[in-house]
Amino acid sequence: MSSNRSLEPSSLSLNDLPWQIRYSNDRCTLCGQCTAVCPVQAIELKVFQKRMVKISIQQDTPHSNQYDTFYGIRQKTRVENACIGCAMCTMVCPNDAIAPVKNPGLDRLKFHINQKGIPRRRGGRRNSSQSILDRIKFTRISMLTDPALDAGRHEFEMRTLLGRVLSPRENMKRLKEKGWIPPVREIYPLIIGGMSFGALSPSMWEGLQMGVAYLNEEMGMPVRICTGEGGCPPRLLRSRFLKYVILQIASGYFGWDEIIHAIPHMKEDPCAIEIKYGQGAKPGDGGLLMWHKVNKLIAAIRGVPPGISLPSPPTHQTQYSIEESVAKMLQSMSMAWGFRVPVYPKISASSTSLAVLNNLTRNDFASGLAIDGEDGGTGAAYTVSMDHMGHPIASCIRDNYLNLIKIGKQNEIPIFAGGGIGKNGNLAANAAALIMMGASGVQIGKYVMQAAAGCVGTEEDRCNVCNVGICPKGITSQDPRLYRRLDPEDVAQRIVDLFISFDTELKKIVAPLGRSTSLPIGMSDALGIDDHAAAQRLSIKYVV
């Protein structure tokens, strides 16, 4: 821009952008791979001119100019081309000549990503690396009075229950009278949370399913995966692998026509049905699959026309009250599979979660409650929802568990925690902390994408373009040119790595606490935190 030109309000300089490209002309081979790979066309090949002034020392020789022309990379400053920091350019550069760097100052882009009046939408996370879970320590170490166990040698049974467990007396009574006993699944406490076919690419979905099948059939780990709201490929519905899958139904009912019609052909019951009422990343808002990603395949599975955005309503439109949502829907879904399949709701963590839980305790068809905290991820949501709406998971889980203790139902309705578990990489420690605060298990999503497929998203607003289908790793894209970058076999292998290593770490946490024969749900005496207020709030020890 020339200095005498007028400025547009959204004219930005490099200094205004959150990510800045550092580029070394000396090392660049001008191969063009970085410009080709950039998902947002943030960089382009440019011709640069350099003027050298030659001062003559001879009186009779005039001063002169030398103009040098060279080629190089230039970063665009338009809002729509602002660098997202994914660093794919760095990945493809043969000479390490280019890299995005986080702007150390304050960027001004956020004031302008609302062009044409559309607020910023993105995929990803809340973008806050703060984590109360990371601060929780396991302080009740067995020393002398009781021996610490050996994570490598002792037998461990790190399993949890998904399903409505009756009180021992009631269960005994129904056994005697041959009454209906709600279905219960014994599963691994780390669950792959709902990420839909549509939000994820076919390669990613296939890789996840293969990894889960391998863990179950070869490693003997009863790992379960939730479909998210997007239906389920017909072949999977009719396969024996369906028993490893939790089918999700949400307010858009996407894919459920196909599922209902497949019921008579199912060889196995699904593990469970999750009814999504809320999502931690965007509580009170519905699911969203933007038109970019609704190709023919996705449209067919979901039962919708291609090329249109698919916003699910914030609530189930056919239901106007908790009786409708909880009693009728749980019962209807249970009935669809002959009362053989656990059905449970998933809600956003909220200060109203307790009310939901209290209602569920009086309903035998409620097989559990999944609570998704504010740090949960999403494929697409408004930034304002992601950043400012929601409730932290730790205190919500704790409140709910302590409430169950009060009414004596702590073993009867399992609570599953989701949202930000392992967001800074400490998956086993975060999961164990939540379990000891009362969760029966945890659901993870973003961690799976990061560990199993190399998602480049971080808590610093890096990438986060899952919503528009341009995922540079091919994880959340429906563009074959992108998702071919991801080999499903490799994803499956990494899923297995993830679960095996998690299992070892979980044992390394519980063994020194003297626990091995059962998952230490509610073992809050093992926990401590260096914040007095947090300790009081969570009813755990304050340690400094």
């Binding site: 009075t145 009781d146 166990l149 021992p168 004596g408 702590q410 091995s516 024969t517």
Partner: protein, 376 residues
């Protein structure tokens, strides 16, 4: 690790036998306390098997309050034993006003009550006295149950026995459980001292209970007032026993399936697999992780021993027809029953429940992999 010794004998024997066993296992306890349970009593109590006996420690003021309270409830003293203590105090043993062992006549209007109702009422009275005592620090009560005496005090077991004069005929019993305490993570509190008694069921344990909090939370929320206290993490073993046998109407062979259920592979091969799967699920919060050796007695005067799933604590059962001992260490058994056939001593392993039934003829080993006597 505390030391435990229990015996079951055809004929009433002196509690000193068990205390002798504790004395030879002295390196395992530190004088921080002794607990003693006497059941199936001989002596004068033989004639009054129905009369509930209140055991506890009282101050002068406490005993006055107790008398008023009991009279008000309609209880009349039927028989009492006074433990006279020497005037000169012994270092390490606190000075108390009165150790009470008093049998009561049940109130007349209780005659028509069902046994369950009587149990419930006796428990509520015990809890009320405990609550009154905690309020003014003038009473500590350990049991209020027919044919049952409990003595607990701080000090070395042998010194305590001399001090309290326990070697007396009135205290002879056919079931004796004794624990010499190794104080660990709790302050010396007599309510934390084993054995623990609830409505005819009694256990003592050594080792820590790493799963204490979830178990305590579960029991406390059963809406059964007797599931309280928990000054010691071992108290839950007695309450789980009571819950399994009274609450769930199961036999002693199922107790181990509650506290240390079989793992999935073994469970599937069990003859009662479907029942056990339900039991494991529904009683999941009662699973212990050890390390614990639990010795307990049942209302029918069976005595049993179980170990944690990994068998991390020692424990041996041995004896001869008419007299069997359950001991933390073999030397304890040697001190009490030296003339037994030691080749028949049994150290119960991780899936065993060793039981000596009231006929006192043999040690029966009940393995978790065997079929159960089910209530169904």
């Amino acid at each position: 690790m505390c030391r435990l010794f229990a015996l079951t004998s055809k004929d009433p024997v002196s509690p000193m036998l068990a205390i002798k066993a504790l004395d030879v296992m002295k390196e395992g306890h530190d004088g921080s306390g002794m607990g003693l349970l006497l059941q199936d009593l001989g002596g004068p109590f033989e004639e009054m098997k129905e009369a509930p006996i209140l055991s506890g420690i009282f101050s002068e003021e406490g005993i006055r309050r107790l008398d008023l309270f009991m009279m008000d409830k309609g209880f009349l003293t039927k028989y009492k034993i006074t433990l006279k203590v020497p005037k000169k105090s012994v270092p390490g043993i606190p000075k108390r006003d009165l150790y009470l062992i008093r049998a009561y006549e049940l109130p007349e209007d209780w005659d028509t009550l069902e046994p369950d109702e009587i149990s419930q009422r006796l428990m509520m009275i015990l809890l009320k006295i405990r609550e009154m005592g905690e309020e003014k620090k003038d009473m500590m009560v350990f049991s209020f149950w027919p044919d049952t005496i409990m003595i607990k005090e701080i000090g070395d077991p042998m010194q305590l026995a001399d001090y309290l004069g326990l070697d007396r005929k009135e205290l002879n019993a056919r079931i004796i459980m004794a624990q010499g305490r190794q104080n660990t993570n709790y302050a010396i509190n007599l309510y934390a001292c084993h054995p623990f008694f609830i409505n005819g069921y009694c256990t003592m344990t050594n080792g820590e209970n790493t799963a204490f909090i979830p178990i305590k939370d579960f029991l406390s929320s059963r809406d059964f007032p007797g599931y309280m206290g928990y000054q010691s993490d071992s108290e839950v073993f007695a309450h789980i026993l009571h819950y399994a046998m009274v609450g769930l109407d199961m036999g002693i062979d199922a107790y181990k399936h509650v506290i240390t259920p079989l793992q999935e592979k073994d469970l599937q091969q069990h003859p009662d697999a479907p029942f056990l799967a339900h039991l494991k699920r529904t009683c999941r919060p009662l699973i212990i992780d050890g390390p614990n050796c639990v010795i307990g007695t049942l209302p029918d005067h069976s005595l049993f021993m179980v170990q944690d799933r990994k068998k991390l604590r020692p424990g041996v059962v041995g004896g001869k027809a008419g007299l069997f001992g359950f001991s933390s260490e073999i030397c304890g058994l040697d001190a009490v029953i030296p003339d037994r056939d030691t080749t028949k001593d049994i150290q119960p392993m991780h899936i065993d429940t060793a039981i000596v039934s009231p006929d006192r003829q043999e040690v029966k080993i009940c393995r978790q992999t065997e079929a159960l006597n089910l209530p169904l």
